[in-house]
């Protein structure tokens, strides 16, 4: 049974980075993507690095020729160490979606963000 725990105030979550919080032993990143909030475990499934302390960014769209179309700005986090790109909403690794960062459900009550751990 997931327990609902207070994470942080909405105003504490920056637009271009995660708000890193501690819940007991767990380190989590709280992200704002568009209008919604999302939580990822601050542990990269690759090598255990501080995933959520990497830059929030976009990336290049897959194309059929040598062109660079920047897309998904603000929807991705690049792991702080090795730069693997993850979809903040789903936790999926872009190169191989079978590799997933752990996500947690989030709820917002007025200015308070809760994580369901």
């Amino acid at each position: 049974m997931a327990s609902k725990q207070f994470a942080c105030k909405a105003s504490e979550v920056p637009a271009d980075a995660a708000k890193i919080i501690k819940l007991g032993n767990l380190s989590l990143g709280i992200f704002r993507v568009g209008d919604g909030y999302h939580a990822l475990l601050n542990v990269c499934p690759h090598k255990g690095a501080a995933l959520c302390q990497g830059p929030v960014c976009g990336t290049t769209k897959q194309t059929d020729k040598a062109e660079f179309v920047y897309e998904r700005a603000g929807e991705l986090v690049r792991c702080a160490w090795h730069g693997w790109e993850f979809d903040i909403r789903t936790g999926e690794f872009l190169v191989d979606p079978r590799v997933k960062a752990r996500t947690f459900p989030v709820s917002v009550e007025s200015e308070d963000i809760f994580v369901h751990v």
Binding site: T60, K61, D64, V69, G83, W84, E85, L94, V95
Partner: protein, 360 residues
Amino acid sequence: MFIVDCDCHNYWCSATVLEPYMDGFFKDMFVRGEKTGPRGAFPHGHRPWFHPEGFSRHDVNPVEEDDNYAIMKEKHLDKYNIDVAILTGDEPIEASTLANAHYANALCRAYNDYMIDYWLPKDSRFWGSIIVAPQDPKLAAEEIRRIGSHPRIVQVLVSHGAQRPYGDPFYHPIYEACAEMGLPFAMHLGGQGGVNSTPIGAGPSTFFWETHAILPQSAMTHMASLIAQGVFEKWPSLKVVIIECGVAWVPSVLWRLDANYKALRKETPWLKRLPSEYFKTNIRMSTQPLEQPENVQHLWATLEAMDGENTLLFASDYPHWDYDDVTKLHIPPAWREKVLGLNALDVYRRIPRPAAIAAE
């Protein structure tokens, strides 16, 4: 067992055999112009390393031009029951070292006509490679289209010494022509000299044996470049054959490429798969000279990591000093049928399969 030798050198005693296949200005230049050696030498920018014994086997000593085939037939083709020999020429790939791409192209063109005219009719086991000078990819592409539909031509061949990595868009007209003619693109160790000034990273090494062992460096660059530049996305059915550049380095480079791609795929958004996956579908490695660790299991683990059962093609490199004997090729026994012949038939599609089946 059906045996395809993917690197069989058809020698000449003298490059003057090309004279009847040249004309005009370039014939004059070839006959009267300066060359790398006396009359009969093939014009090229020579590498700065000399083999202390000459790089041919010492039991292969042709005197007349026709001896070249007679000795190859006796000491290689018949002796080892070779079913198919892919002719890879010899000196002509060194045309890639010349600064004058027009002259280089004229030399390749003459060689190709000579090879079709003199060598291919000699033996039903022979299949030819079109040699092109990559310095001018448009001229190379013209040459590929000129003779690429010849029924006994099975690939396009260049030296692995080059002015830039082969994935560079500069070279793409060559792949366009290969794809159009349905021919694989092959690179063979060579072309270390002249305008190809960077065959060795960190600057020129000193001794021949030392250098020969590390020449695969530039093949690593070409492999990475072909994959990263998206050559196999543009031409998904193109096969690239890397000849005589060693084998055991392949997994380590693929591991490194995959690791970096996972971090920085956004730099090459045209790629849709891991680098190692492009390798497995599009690149083939010739075996010779297959690395010789003291414990063969060390090699076999490495070959397994590159899917060697499907990516290796047997090559002898007849008649060079590091010739591999097909009967002593140290690969896993269960792979022999594929590596010695069947894998090559997947690459060289013009060679009829029935011949392989009949040989079983």
